[in-house]
Point group: C2
């Protein structure tokens, strides 16, 4: 069997089946692994790889932005647990004919975001690549004991929230790939694609509220990422599509270029906003900017495969989806798989 | 300027110049970063990247061995500090047409060495690569407070030791590249190249002896790696070339194929033996198998560039080398640079 048939999540299951989770560690398969320490603080660790040709195009992305984004997507994983990032490790494989100006600009972007979030570069590896640039960042973070927010804790009756507008990053990528002329609005979308801002203080504040139950960051897209929370928690959900926050820049550009804003907001990834569930009471007390987009409706047995939920505009592509999309007629495609052709 | 002109160590200096080492962290630029914790235990972290075409050839290395080696080279970084590795994070970028049998064998090798050294897989990332396999492993380890052995602590009068025979791995690589027929001896060398055994218990035992001053693992080759210890410690050294341990398999194969065993032992890398300096008194008490190969001769000012040391068979390629090689007439090439053509 080829990897393209197995798919990314099949591969992850296959790897997990071979390794037993050790004592004192939770969060394997979550945004970060959570390692319990004897200090009363948990250590959070996450590692993400970016490959030229899969995650970015060298001739498109400015090296400053790539440096920024390489750190940002990892800091976002710590934010997604409600943790405080403390430092990063950077592995870089670079072709020998790369210009040192490119490297300087890359490190400049990496240094700027590191300074903004107080996360020093603590080590890493530099090596030669025959052709493509390959980047891996490992981030360390910390969090009070057992307070990290996992994906698996969504509760029946919770409201579902996001910390900001969705779809901008996917629209920015679309603008880059289609070569759209870059006026102020288009550039705003491209900036959100190239220079995402990880929701670190927002994640820490959400963690302080014990009514916030499950949390993750939106990297693959709302449709796919919410599914992870529901699968891990054994829940179903209803999303009010009309409540999904869309930026003015996104709405305008979609009108101008004939793009579908909802498809970008639901299926496009890399917004790096936080997706969380909390009690309605807790939601009223949150000072973090956020938008309520739906609710956790019911628990379910994850073993059985019930009939499609009434009112669901389910596309049929994902037989286990338990999200009911209210307020739209068109089917919304599910998530993103690195190994399958979309 | 191209990266190939700057070189790997020039690149590392350029990166380090941009980032200030934070309080409570030592070992930046060493085998591991050492993070002081309030528990009285230090956390050790290292991250290494392996790229197809630079570090391995997919059609040559069995996937089991590649999985083994990916973890081994990282566990070796913790061993080099005298630490105990506690877990790993694996990032894998794989082409979509890769066979799942390949992945299973890779994970089998990774799982076997992880079990042998008690280091569970705690997380990571899987993603698609357009063509080349790219692997990054981050290892976590621990060590009592301020007991990790840095490269910078070699003392005048120390003896210089290695934990095992050198050159086998480089000879194994040579045998693979030259397509030598694989009898028992040749296979032994190839095994040392493909399945290095990190010296984890050896490193922990050496750390218990306070007379052991500086330590690192031999990944780039004795000539290059010893230079790192001397540069970091501000010392010079004399190596007795006749004392460098060579395996019988290496000696026989060198005779049969006309290879130079000393060149392989000094300039060939990836032996993953430990290189350490200690007092002569401490050396007599060590129960870890080891070989004394030289001594730390004198301190030096690292600012000035003194004249070549008398008796040195220095090749002239590295004007700052402070190693005197005794007992050989032929010049020995210095270390390995990923970005320069050898």
């Amino acid at each position: 069997m080829k990897l393209s048939e197995l798919g990314e999540f099949g591969l992850i299951e296959r790897i997990q089946a071979r390794f037993r989770a050790p004592d004192g560690v939770t969060g394997i398969g979550d945004d970060c692994a959570v390692l319990h320490q004897s200090t009363g603080r948990d250590t959070l660790v996450s590692s993400d790889m970016l490959i030229e040709g899969t995650h970015f195009l060298r001739k498109e992305i400015p090296p400053y932005d790539l440096g920024w984004k390489s750190a940002a997507v990892n800091l976002s994983d710590v934010a997604a647990m409600g943790g405080k990032p403390t430092g990063t490790f950077l592995s870089l494989a670079l072709p020998a004919d790369l210009d040192t100006d490119w490297i300087d600009a890359f490190m400049h972007g990496y240094a700027d975001i590191s300074e903004r979030f107080g996360t020093p570069l603590l080590g890493g590896d530099t090596t030669a690549s025959p052709d493509r640039i390959c980047i891996n960042v490992t981030v360390l973070g910390e969090c009070p004991y057992a307070r990290a927010r996992l994906r698996s804790n969504a509760q029946k009756g919770d409201v579902i929230c996001v910390t900001g507008s969705l779809g901008d990053s996917a629209a920015g990528l679309k603008a880059i790939l289609e070569g759209v002329e870059r006026d102020v609005e288009v550039q705003r979308l491209i900036d959100r694609h190239y220079r995402p801002v990880p929701r670190v203080p927002e994640g820490e504040e959400l963690r302080l509220n014990l009514g916030v139950h499950a949390m993750m960051d939106l990297s693959d897209g709302l449709g796919s990422d919410l599914q992870h929370i529901l699968d891990a928690s054994g829940m179903n959900a209803e999303i009010d599509v009309s409540a999904i926050p869309l930026s003015l820049a996104l709405k305008h550009c979609c009108q101008r270029f004939g793009w579908d804003p909802l498809a970008l907001a639901v299926s496009g990834g890399e917004d790096y906003e936080l997706l969380f569930t909390c009690t309605p009471q807790a939601e009223m007390l949150l000072s973090v900017p956020h938008f309520v987009i739906g609710k956790v409706t019911s628990s379910r047995s994850v073993q059985c495969h019930p009939e499609p939920v009434e009112g669901s505009s389910h596309s049929g592509l994902d037989p286990e989806s338990r999200i009911t999309w209210r307020g739209t007629a068109s089917p919304l495609s599910p998530g993103f798989d690195h190994f399958k052709k979309g």
